[in-house]
Symmetry: C2
Subunit: 341 residues, 2 copies
């Protein structure tokens, strides 16, 4: 499998400290409380619920969204007890989205890796997702801020719209780069934005601070998703933790494909039409797609696009109070666009 990453980047990230881990360490006491709330709130007298939820939640993941909520609250001097519940609520919305995102149509193809869906079935995944989604609203109600409820219910509606939008762009070669950015802004970045925005809101800051943190989260989220979509063609499978080529097999229209498609000759157009539009793929097609992307420098151009959003995130962050947390949030931007997993 061809690797598009250059050696320099590889070396720097191999030696660099992971700022997500540094932030987790700095906020270890708070993260512990968030994890306890997550465990406690996924309990239910119906055994399948904790069983399925723990499959996803115990699997861990980076917990980046709750960490952002904690960091943005701490940075603005907000009440961390309030932030704990909200961070758990944010993670539950994310987990519910993951569960629902994996639901397949009868005609649909499953992903390469094991999903909760593959093990427990569509129905259980949907219903446990609904449960976690409801729990996240119960946590917000306990917390008692209508402003926070507004931010997160708005984000939830936007996420659902983004996911539906993505359905209509999948396999659709008419998809523009603007359509793509709209999709990832909604399906991914809106929750990053909300996770950050609640920090200054909990800390009773002026609207400008909330706006700045929403901007930070939104642009970080867009950069994060562009990189994710780029790694789907260029990542090292052992690091990425997911199967390279998932998006290609599902016919998703993502940044690297859109860039290559803009530059495609007639033969390449026919290739994308067959593989993405008609989903008529052969074993060698992923490698062929990667070859076409390399020919048009699509991986690097896609990374450059991510960097432009990363830059916007950094600008917004400059509005926040100076200190260790701000420095780490800045490092997270860099880390996001340099990661290989």
């Amino acid at each position: 499998m061809p690797r598009q990453n250059n050696a320099a980047r590889h070396d720097s990230s191999a030696t660099a400290v992971n700022p997500l881990e540094s932030l987790s360490r700095l906020l270890a006491g708070d993260m512990k409380k968030v994890n306890a709330l997550i465990l406690q709130n996924m309990q239910s007298s119906v055994p399948l619920i904790p069983q399925l939820a723990s499959y996803l939640i115990a699997a861990g993941g980076k917990r980046i969204r709750p960490l952002l909520t904690l960091a943005c609250t701490q940075m603005y001097g907000g009440d961390m007890t309030r932030a704990h519940r909200l961070a758990a609520a944010v993670e539950f919305i994310h987990t519910a989205t993951l569960l629902h995102d994996d639901v397949v149509d009868e005609s649909g193809e499953r992903r390469g890796q094991d999903t909760a869906n593959l093990i427990f079935g569509n129905q259980a995944s949907v219903l446990v997702g609904d449960f976690l989604f409801s729990r996240s609203f119960q946590l917000m109600v306990q917390e008692g801020s209508l402003d926070v409820l507004r931010i997160l219910s708005d984000a939830a509606a936007i996420i659902a719209q983004g996911e539906v939008m993505q359905l209509s762009t999948t396999g659709n070669l008419e998809t523009t780069m603007d359509n793509y950015i709209d999709v990832i802004r909604a399906k991914t970045a809106a929750l990053f934005a909300a996770a950050c925005e609640v920090g200054p809101v909990v800390a009773d800051q002026a609207p400008a601070a909330a706006q700045a943190m929403a901007e930070y989260g939104m642009n970080l989220g867009i950069a994060f998703q562009i990189i994710d979509d780029t790694l789907d063609y260029a990542g090292g499978q052992e690091k990425i933790g997911k199967t390279v080529g998932d998006d290609f097999r599902e016919g998703k229209m993502t940044a690297p494909v859109l860039i290559a498609l803009q530059r495609a000759d007639a033969g390449e157009k026919a290739f994308w039409a067959r593989t993405i539009k008609d989903k008529n793929q052969e074993k060698t097609d992923l490698a062929a797609a990667q070859g076409i992307l390399a020919r048009h420098d699509a991986i690097n151009l896609s990374m450059a696009m991510a960097r432009s959003y990363a830059q916007k995130a950094r600008l917004a962050l400059a509005e926040a109070p100076d200190g260790e947390i701000r420095a780490l949030l800045d490092d997270i931007v860099t880390f996001t666009i340099e990661r290989e997993f």
Copy 2:
């Protein structure tokens, strides 16, 4: 198809005035505003969302849940403008539940009738359900009452638990009548209860009033679902609007089956094990099941069970202020247990 209804019941309900229609007429101005809010809030820049949502919502249905919210608010002298948004929110939760309830596993059988799922697929149904669910919380946040948000987010979590519980009772001959009541209390009655409870809460009444209306809605909802499950074996197909035998084909453990199973001889036990547990059904099995239910008087016993919950609903309603609305809410109880559709 054998009809289990006796002629007397048929005649009385044929001539009786439908109290749901009377209540709709009495609250016509309010229902109009609720319908406008429903239409307005299912709009989205993503065309598939209003398309799929309107398939379900325009199909109408009885709108019984929003009607209960309006009636209970009006009865306690609450602000009807607030009730409009909450009634729309309640209907959105119901619609989202319907969409998610119809999601099938790859191995699963679809229902006889056309569901949104059959036309639009699992993925779209799940995601549009998520959108409507988020919208319902946005409406509640606009309305601005944390008490109402607590009631409805609690109900949403209970509904999801009920649906998951139902997954584990389906095809399970060990299911007890208590398990069944737990399932329908959660999956159906909790939303009826919440729809009624918000009325006195909006009207700033004492907790006892909210408690009484929650009791009314809960017991009405249980009676409603028992009748629904009974009609699945005994209803007239043209009236019921759904295919008789759906529950049987899906292997659902409902009141009439549980009653017949308690009284089953060895041959009947083997029949239920083959048809419900192993889902090994032949064309004549529905008629055979209906024959067994008739032999054990299971339809009438099931109706009697529904009537006992109806009686509890009426008792709780006696706490409410006397007047035309209370009389209609009382008639709705009677109508629910006497309906044939």
